[in-house]
Amino acid sequence: MNAPPLLEVSHVRKQFPGVQALDGVSLAVYPGEVLALVGENGAGKSTLMKVVAGIHRPEAGTLRLNGKDVPFAGVAEAMRRGIVLIHQELNLAENLSVASNLFLGREKVIGGPLGWLARGSMNADAQALLRRVGLAVSPAHTVGDLPPGQRQLVEIARALSLDARLIIMDEPTSSLTQAETDRLYEVIDDLKRHGVSVVYISHRLAEVRRVADRVVVFRDGKNAGMLAKAEIAHDAMVRLMVGRDLQQLYPRRHSLAADARVRLDVRGLTYQGGSSQPLSFRLHGGEVVGMAGLVGAGRTELAEALFGIRRVKAGAVFIDGSPVVIRHPRQAVRAGLLLVPEDRRHHGLVLTESIRRNLALPNFDRLTSFGWIWRGRERALAGDMMQRLRVRASGPGQAAGLLSGGNQQKVVLGKWLARKPRVVIFDEPTRGVDVGARSEIYALMDQLAGEGVAILMISSDLEEVLGMSDRVLVLHEGHLAGELSRAELGEEAVMQLATGGRPRAARTSNSGVQPTPGSEPA
């Protein structure tokens, strides 16, 4: 690393409503290196990269390119400087062909002012670019028909066509298969050989170990540390990311009674868009059951089916021993089965409305007489919940959309806490939530379990699954691949089940405590 850094940002600060996303972070990228940027959700990785790529303008900080000070600029200028960001959710026009996407906005034309598209020449150039990323599709192919892995490669080809010196990949493998991921690694290696730098954002530590020359860790919008190639190890990264003892992050005060009753009993469930293989499992009162699996394994779909969002085809669901039919969330809420959804901005909250109105929304049965809302009760509910959950806001009148991720999640939780929940499904409960709020959410989960609520926690964050669960169910391609007791829990065991393998210890029985087929719950 004797060469000057290709890019150097220092002391960058960026504020969003309700949250200091970047709090004086610095980062240097050297020519031809693959730099992995890791950190928890909300640590500021994506935000800093958006600053570098010209999408966000920071409040403070400096930018140096090839050792020269330059001002922060917009997207077009950043691209001209050779910095290209490939977004997590790809930015391709799905209705257009591969070639059209590669040259979108920079179309080659003939006939001067007539602007007739030079299709032949563009297709030839596109062909060459696709060859470089090893993608064997015709430039005339419609992008929408390509699988996610190939779209990713189209994005990289587009970056190459821009003569990129630095390509930023934000969670590039989140929707890729293993084979597609391997292909991506080869392309990254090839980019490196050509002197292109890559910033690789990921929270999959195994991937980071595979591709990175160097690792920079962010935490809560600040630099938490840096690891050279030789130092890259799982534990070291986790310690820097979390910044505290794991025991302290995951409180476990609740204890599972030996005779805990079955609160949720799912028997032979099949649902629209799910696997044809029926799903059966049980949750006990006072138990936190983790649900792991790869993206696309059907965990969210299962939650939607249980909550009445997704149509159930067959099977029976029992809550506290009584059969329930749930075709609409209304019935789920009535039965005491509640969902804290994955996509809280779209499903959990009405962002334009106040905290108070969001908290009241599912609780009008206790706030009204004959439909008339008693404002006093509504205010009291909001006050109680905000205090109990320690929601940090200017007041109950603040719009939910202006809260930070963690505080938004607390409000989503608060909507349900006023009811007497029996079963609560958390879908990715701490995605986009800062570390501080995370431990508070875990504490609440623990507290609910202590009160006898059955909890199903769907999570892609293995640390979280291992830290919080009494028992883990693993889904693979829509069916239950296996179950791990607390004693059997381990990263390896979970991953093996999640990818379709079968570890020695795993049982594939349909339930936790000694299932007796056909017996009615008490």
């Binding site: 409503p17 909550f307 969002i309 609409h328 969330p329 209304r330 789920a332 809420v333 009535r334 969902l339 959804p341 779209h346 499903h347 959990g348 909250l349 009405v350 962002l351 334009t352 409305e353 109105r357 009241a360 929304l361 599912p362 009008f364 706030l367 009204t368 439909g371 008339w372 809302i373 202006l402 909507k415």
Partner: protein, 321 residues
């Protein structure tokens, strides 16, 4: 709140312009002219405003008013008492609302398209019912009939209480009731939540389809009621012109009153004030002898200026955060 102040300011300015535009503008008669228009027009504005808050839209209002006006006259001619005829027209309009709501929720059709089809269908029906001819409410001449209709006309439209026209009182009563509904009850809250984020409302356990249908029913029912007022006010209605363009006036009024076409925004007092703007503008145009031909342009320009001002205020607010 700032929006409500904005529309209040607009109404006050227009009113001042109006009363200073001539001696005759200060007369009771000139005010009552405005009140008459405001009455039935305000009622449809409030209806469509509530629908817009819930995230819907209705382009068929004018045609529903046309069909309602023709049906009301025909029912009277066939010997129904005015009260029964009015109830039938209002109920028929509610049925149209149920129909729209079912198409939007169960078949998941776009509200814009469903009600655009309605715009043509109901207008066509209205014209077919009378073979295109105008029709009056005094189609029969027996004395008992005329007395009954006149009494009904007096009650709903022509009469006044201390000079305030009954038609305006009808609007005020409707507005107060719906204001309590929209701002005081959980059902009103549900409409706001559905309009702002239907998915979040569903995930909160709200039967969103039911409340969306309810919003269409409110809108169409009020259009039906407005058609009765319109018919009584004019005595003779044409199936071609009765209520034509009214849907666009009503949407304009609701938007000027603070409703966002994205849904989830707006207040009842705002809609009420928004409804007052067009009648005032129109009256000013006539006093200033601005010809009827450019009146549309004046209205359009006014709406555009209002929209721009609103956007600028919003941006100011966003910057301050």
């Amino acid at each position: 709140m700032i929006r409500l102040l904005g529309v209040l300011l607009m109404v006050v300015v227009l009113y001042v312009v109006f009363v200073t535009s001539g001696e005759s503008a200060r007369s009771v008669g000139a005010h009552q002219d405005i009140a008459n228009w405001l009455g039935y027009y305000g009622i449809v504005t409030v209806g469509v405003g509530i629908l817009i808050i819930s995230g819907g839209i209705d382009l068929s209002i004018g045609s529903v008013v046309g069909l309602g006006a023709v049906s009301f006259s025909l029912l009277l001619r066939h010997g129904y008492t005015p009260f029964v005829a009015a109830v039938l027209v209002v109920l028929g309009s509610s049925a149209i609302g149920v129909f729209h709501g079912l198409l939007v929720t169960k078949l998941r059709l776009q509200p814009f398209l469903v009600t655009l089809c309605g715009l043509f269908i109901y207008r066509g029906l209205a014209r077919w019912l009378t073979a295109g001819d105008s029709i009056g409410i005094f189609g029969r001449t027996d004395e008992a009939y005329v007395r009954q209709v006149k009494a009904f006309q007096e009650l709903l439209v022509k009469g006044d209480v201390f000079g305030v026209k009954n038609q305006l009182i009808a609007l005020i009563v409707v507005s107060v009731l719906l204001g309590l509904f929209l701002h005081g009850t959980k059902w009103g809250r549900y409409l706001y939540a559905i309009g702002a984020n239907e998915e979040a409302a569903r995930y909160a356990g709200i039967a969103t389809d039911t409340y969306k249908i309810l919003a269409y029913v409110i809108c169409s029912t009020l259009a039906g009621f407005a058609s009765v007022l319109f018919t009584l006010d004019n005595s003779t209605v044409s199936p071609v012109s009765a209520g034509s363009w009214l849907e666009l006036y009503a949407i304009t009024g609701a938007v000027l009153g603070g409703c966002s076409l994205r849904g989830g925004e707006g207040t009842l007092p705002g809609m009420f004030l928004g409804a007052a703007i067009l009648p005032l503008l129109r009256q000013i145009c006539s006093f200033w002898e601005i010809s009827g031909e450019v009146e549309y342009s004046v209205i359009g320009a006014f709406l555009l200026v209002g929209t721009i001002a609103d956007e600028l205020i919003k941006r100011r607010g966003a910057l301050r955060r």
